[in-house]
């Protein structure tokens, strides 16, 4: 019981941003059918944007969050318009689009160092108080961050599920042709969606960043896990992504309580690969021959 409680608390507080990031990436994946490697950089830049607003303007962390979300969303839209839309219109193949997004990821990861410098950048936040639950220590800041992530994830979920725009996004993802003949303008809807996805990624980055620092590899280091959560949970919609994200966090912290952290990550990756392998078999019906 104690073990489970520990695993859950550590897993959720440490990996809460993962859920937010995965929701953003899943939205792009479901609608544009694109695995966007450069989403890693949306996450990274989210951290940098928030850090910049926080330190340069002396704004509170919460205000920097809002600005960071908007900037990351705008960046996401820009990458869609400049790169992915062009690829779509030129009929570039699926593997090639992945490589293009890899190129974009590398480009952004290094270009941002020209702007923000080569060194890691730290946030200026008031010193936190330390709390304890079930023998697990965490800071008051981690707690607020966790609550904020939960609220944001919920808002994000409600936006997609309950609003007019969310409905258009889902309709377009469900069947693009039918959406078009129903009067949905695909470009506008797609842009709204890339903005939301970017904002989610940026906010996740800001939360990760404030927990350590904003550095160029921040998003890339977490990309693989985010991708696996999206691929495994994404087949069941946003709810699946949320569950897979939380499950991953808890599983990882449970493993880390038992075995060395690096080995825990290996076990987690192997588990994901096996799930992918088993899931792959179910998609063979799509063959057209």
């Amino acid at each position: 019981m104690d073990f489970i409680a520990k695993a859950v608390i550590i897993g959720l507080t440490e990996q809460a941003p993962l859920v937010l990031a995965a929701m953003g990436m899943a939205l792009i994946y479901n609608l544009s059918k694109v695995i966007n490697v450069a989403f890693a950089e949306t996450i990274t830049l989210g951290a940098y944007f928030a850090q910049w607003v926080n330190v340069f303007f002396g704004a509170s962390f919460y205000l920097s969050l809002a600005v960071s979300g908007i900037l990351a969303g705008a960046l996401s839209c820009a990458t869609y318009l400049v790169v992915f839309r062009t690829a779509e219109r030129r009929g570039v193949g699926a593997v090639e689009v992945i490589i293009i997004s890899l190129g974009l990821s590398v480009l952004l990861r290094y270009a941002l160092q020209f702007v923000f410098g080569y060194e890691a950048r730290f946030f200026e936040t008031p010193p936190p108080t330390f709390l304890k639950l079930f023998d697990v220590g965490f800071t008051s800041f981690q707690l607020t961050a966790f609550i904020l992530v939960v609220v944001l994830a919920l808002l994000f979920y409600l936006f997609v599920q309950k609003t007019v725009w969310g409905r258009q996004v889902r309709a377009l993802a469900s069947d693009a042709d039918l959406a078009k003949v129903s009067g949905i303008n695909p470009l506008l809807t797609t842009l709204v969606m890339w903005f939301m996805a970017g904002a989610a990624g940026g906010l996740a980055g800001a939360f990760w960043g404030v927990a350590s620092s904003a550095k160029p590899g921040l998003g890339w280091d977490r990309f693989l896990l985010t991708l696996l959560v999206v691929l495994v949970g994404g087949t069941r919609g946003l709810r699946g992504v949320i569950l897979a994200g939380m499950g991953t966090g808890v599983l990882l912290s449970a493993l880390k309580l038992e075995i060395a952290p690096l080995r825990a990550e290996i076990v987690l990756l192997v588990a994901f690969i096996l799930v992918l392998k088993l899931r792959g078999n179910r998609f063979r019906e799509l063959a057209k021959v």
Binding site: Y29, I35, V37, V83, T86, A87, R90, V92, G93, A94, V95, E96, I98, I99, I100, L102, G103, L104, S105, V106, L107, L108, R109, Y110, A111, Q113, F114, Y118, W220, L224, L227, L228, L231, A260, L262, R263, E265, I266, L269, V270, F272, I273, L276, K277, G280, N281, F283, R284, A287, K288, V289
Partner: protein
Amino acid sequence: MSAVWDFLFGSPAFLIFGTYTLMMIVGLGILLHLQLGVTGIGNFGVAGFWGAGLYSFGILQVHYDVGFWLALLAATAAGGVLGVVTGWVIADLDDDGVLAATLAVASIVFLAIESERGITGGRVGLGTIDFPFDVGERTDLAWLAILFGVTGVLLWYARRVHRSPYGRLLIATGTNEPLARSLRKPAKRTKVGVMALTSAGMGALGGLYGPIVHFLFPTQLTVAITVSVITALVLGGQQRPLGAFVGALLTVGLFDIVIKLYVPLPRDLLEHAFPVTKQVIFGALLIFVLLFRPLGFLGRMRRETHVKGLTRV
């Protein structure tokens, strides 16, 4: 005349090391060409297969005093086994699944090396590894000649594959797997086979890299090497055996040899701005090439003339 010689080979150690790297990228690029350009398997974990070979070789040489040939064989086998497992996993995954699985394989190799310090040395490193022979001052040049030879053999093989029924099977499997299956072709086995073969090659190249660096660190296996290989191949032309060679000259050759050694850049610039700029250019090249010239510098696979010629046999 001797001024030219001095200019070119004034710092032979750097030039030789740069050329080693170049040859590695070309070799891995040719193998990736068989995976990506021919069979359509987007392998984003090149560093993992190569690293598995490198570390198998290193561990056997350092800890168990295994001879060069046996260690090289083990490196090849390590790449091959990893290739079989990866091939089995990705055989019926779509491109997104292949991306995730290959990235995960590379990540697992990296994590395993970092975590199993007892045999890999972890971040402290593993060494030293020496050349299997010693011909005095020119040993490194001799090793370079061997690398040239190996790369040449890989290139020759890739070109022959293009002209053989096997290559056709790979292209068919890559471009339309269900159709290939309907024509009696065992698509799954073909994919596992090509992954085994090419990954074994990557493992072998990893083994050959051991003596070059003498000391192994996990940081040698980051995604940077995968990105370099992909960039070189895509830029040169992913569908052509020579693509990786041309692309590597234009990227690694230009940046890591020509500019680094022969352009007098301030030290500060060379340390920070230069590598960053290089990566920015690599990323931009990947995007532009795939958007506007998807088949790279060399263009489309040459099939027409070759088959026409054959019909007259």
